[in-house]
Symmetry: C2
């Protein structure tokens, strides 16, 4: 339970710039999924007027915020991280109470969130991310001289961020979308997730305190609560918003994507929506490491109660897979404790999804359940044949929670055909020996067209926050396969190139000036260099 | 007139892979805009079955084409350029006959098209464009080890390209969209523009000959003709197509954009649609160079009969602009010969647009006209006040042809307010002294949020094909402000990042292998280097 000390700091109101919202929007309360109890205080949905004010303030803040020197933007991100760390125990208490996740997970996720903010601060402070390019003038070129042409990335404008329920910190108010948008120079309006409003408010206040402390325009950050979906939809439709980052369900993502493209001015919409993360176990690996792979799969599929977008939900098995693989996994699933789910919607969707799947695949094992007042679910292991899987597209649908589906293939071609028929996913995993990889070279080639990340002899959960990470993938796993929502490339979603032709040196942004004052990497006449001109 | 030698080589059929289409699609003929005469042969629209076959072949070609080594893709692009140059006189004759553009322009545009193909060949052969990133494993990291993570750009899949009428070579069958998609590793299906089918066929045959000569899969390139819009729409809707490049009207672009986003699998859609390219003349420049700026504007607004997406269509004047500026421009416009327009639609839209504008702004001068059988138009110079301009949004609409609108402001604030109210454009131009730039620093800041390219003391027509060029801009000038359709960054539109976690070195693409066999620039643990690991 969140204790009274944390409660006292919460006011249950949206943060509109430096003001607390005061409107009479519909009230809601967080629920502790462990026991079903409602948590204080009541949260008030933002009103349309408050939304309009938040978006308007963001538009006003854009001019000064994008003009901030890179080091000042980096300082903002670092200061937010420090303030989040300083919240300490009240944050852990509230986040565990609202999410049902254990304290160690919340602590780890807080560390990840702060690491992410600091990593973007490093990227912004270093400065080369803007992709500066300079094509010097060629006054003597025939038949026509070439003018001086320079370009670099500039921020898009105010961004809306939709927090996810399953990472109350790392994909929420100060998560990757917010960090990367702020890093790019975009003010942010966050639509909080109604599952963890108290956690959201604690983080939101840390960001607001940082903006105030550093003398930034108050519109650089706002946080809106909503019991329903009206405020989120209106936020995407608001003319001041120029880009959207979203993590959530496929239905929610598609609805907001439609709203974004139906605007008078369509805007980039980045949704990370759903993924079943197929795992291919190849013959050699199955011979050598069947039980080890089964144990790893069990850990990965039940991590965070299976409520990860990278949870392995499909396991393609080679012909002749030894019985001990499925046996081992079935034992582990059967021995799994009841899992506390994030919220009522996820819990009931998972439970009904399991019931529905019992009609289309064989239930091999299920874990313990809990009939108490909390939001509990049992792990589930299903099995089917490749034949059935290839005929029934619903078997490939995401079942968000601690369940997975084993699919037995009869031969190599069937395994490849399953790969060919996949929709887009965030990840695909291959377990194999080097010989397997040589024998299944075409599998790798197929998967390169289907997913954003291919994992070899590992498990898809655990998304590293680093430079090379891609947490994205072809439709319908995301709305825009060209982007990632995790890792430093995420900043590129919130910028566009602007070109300057013939401008005097002093009027150019520092990144494009002859002297290269920040010492960044630039493409000079097609060649990368950190030299001054 | 195109002569019989060129005619003999034309068959009037879509090119579906290595076969000529034979279906009974609706026939149409090109029209010589200089005299209104129809040109032989008749062109047959592709049938839905031919479209399906072209798209299906492209999907089949994707596997082998994306697997081609970089140097082989570069060779393909260079070979296409060589073959286009070899067509020679028949291409110039047919393109001038179909477009009404002078031979020198066609020759220049052919050179530009071939330069563009070779520039993309250089980019692909050099190889760093894939943005390779390597985060090496950290097996001893606490609390969890880091796996080896590597990523790079990979092609999206078959691309559809819609040719434009106003650049029958550089934005057509082998133009920037085709060159950048092929460079990225995407097979291309071109929807030809019905204004220049003969030119399209000549170029299409050159590309096909090259694919055949180099032993590529026939599906790497197809060319479809259509008298209407049905084939183009169906092409965007085809499930094998994974990205679209389009240059054309706002209405056409919006309709196809809707089709792209309404697909079961929405796909990236890159449309360059319309732009009025505002020019701001600041007080110092007006004092020092009024007549010179007027002469430059006249050249720019009438270049190619004003049928450039970068034609300056709005000229914002400072208060106290000397009379000789407008006088000089009016003299030049009045002395302009009749212009031959590209096709009937553009000609009639321009003529009715001029008539309509006469109702909302003052016609200061118009050029000579020609009442003959050809598609001719007269240059037109309009004038209005900033007050009227700010109240009437239609005055900012594109008038595609040799017309421009002078807008007289009363003071600095009015000039800035006009900038603030602009929609998105491809370009904005500032004429000023260094003192002007210092006095109007906020103008530059506003324009950075409104356009893709800012030109200082130059003119917007003439888009350099180089590394730093941005030919793009915020809505509605394009459908995706994050991209450019000219310059080497255009290749990025046809690729997405794919991440490889824990893969053995030999199974990685060469760009990500430890030895860095191509010697490309890579981001290693956050730092750029060309070193091997």
């Amino acid at each position: 339970m969140a204790d009274s000390a944390a409660m006292e700091t919460l006011c249950g109101r949206s943060l509109v710039g430096f003001s607390d919202a005061m409107g009479d929007g519909e009230a809601f309360r967080a629920v502790n999924p462990a026991d079903g109890a409602e948590l204080e205080p009541a949260y008030h949905s933002a009103t349309p007027a408050e939304l309009d004010r938040a978006a308007g303030l963001a538009a006003k803040a854009f001019d000064s915020y994008r003009a901030l020197p890179a080091h000042a933007r980096a300082e903002f991100l670092r200061d937010i991280a420090t303030r989040i760390e300083k919240i300490g125990e009240p944050l852990v208490l509230r986040a565990t109470a609202e999410s049902g996740l254990p304290a160690a997970r919340i602590q780890g996720e807080t560390a990840r969130t702060c690491h992410q903010l600091r990593l973007f601060a490093d990227v912004v402070a270093e400065g080369s991310w803007v992709g500066a390019r300079i094509d010097p003038a060629l006054p003597d070129r025939k038949p026509l001289p070439r003018p001086d042409i320079r370009s670099m990335l500039r921020p898009l404008g105010p961004a809306a961020v939709f927090a996810a329920s399953n990472f109350p910190l790392a994909f929420s108010v100060a998560g990757g979308d917010t960090a990367s948008a702020l890093a790019a120079g975009c003010p942010v309006v966050v639509k909080a997730h109604a599952s963890h409003p108290g956690t959201s408010e604690l983080i939101g206040r840390a960001i607001r305190d940082s903006a105030r402390h550093l003398g930034l325009h108050e519109g650089v950050f706002s946080l809106l609560f909503d019991a329903g979906t009206a405020i989120g939809t209106a936020l995407v439709q608001h003319s001041s918003i120029k880009a959207v980052g979203f993590t959530g369900s496929r239905a929610g993502g598609r609805a907001l994507m439609r709203a974004a493209s139906a605007r008078q001015e369509p805007i980039p919409f980045y949704a990370e929506m759903s993924s079943t993360n197929p795992v291919f176990v190849l013959p050699g690996a199955m011979r050598e490491r069947a039980e080890q792979i089964a144990a790893g799969l069990h850990t990965s599929m039940t991590l965070g109660a299976g409520q990860f977008c990278t949870k392995p939900g499909l396991v393609m098995l080679p012909s002749g897979a030894p019985a001990q693989f499925a046996q081992k996994l079935a034992e582990l699933v059967a021995g799994s404790p009841a899992f506390t789910m994030l919220n009522r919607g996820i819990c009931s969707t998972y439970r009904s999804g399991v019931q529905k799947r019992i009609g289309s695949a064989r239930l091999v094992a299920s874990g313990m359940d809990d009939a108490g007042a909390g939001l509990h679910s049992a792990a589930a292991l299903f099995e089917t044949s490749a034949d059935k899987f290839l005929r029934d597209p619903e078997l490939a649908d995401e079942l968000f929670g601690p369940a997975t589906l084993l699919i037995q293939s009869d031969n190599r071609n069937q395994l490849l055909e399953m790969a060919r028929q996949l929709e887009g996913h965030l990840t695909a995993t291959i377990h194999g020996t080097e010989q397997d990889l040589a024998d299944y070279r075409d599998l790798l080639a197929i998967l390169e067209t289907k997913v954003g990340r291919i994992i070899f002899n590992g498990f898809p959960t655990g998304v590293e926050v680093s430079h090379a990470m891609v947490h994205g993938g072809p439709w319908p796993s995301t709305s825009d396969s060209r982007t990632t929502s995790v890792g430093t490339m995420a900043i590129l979603r919130f910028a566009r190139p602007v070109c300057y032709q013939g401008l005097p040196d002093a009027s150019l942004p520092p990144e494009l000036q002859n002297a290269n004052p920040h010492g960044i990497w630039r493409m000079f006449d097609g060649k990368l260099t950190r030299e001054a001109m």
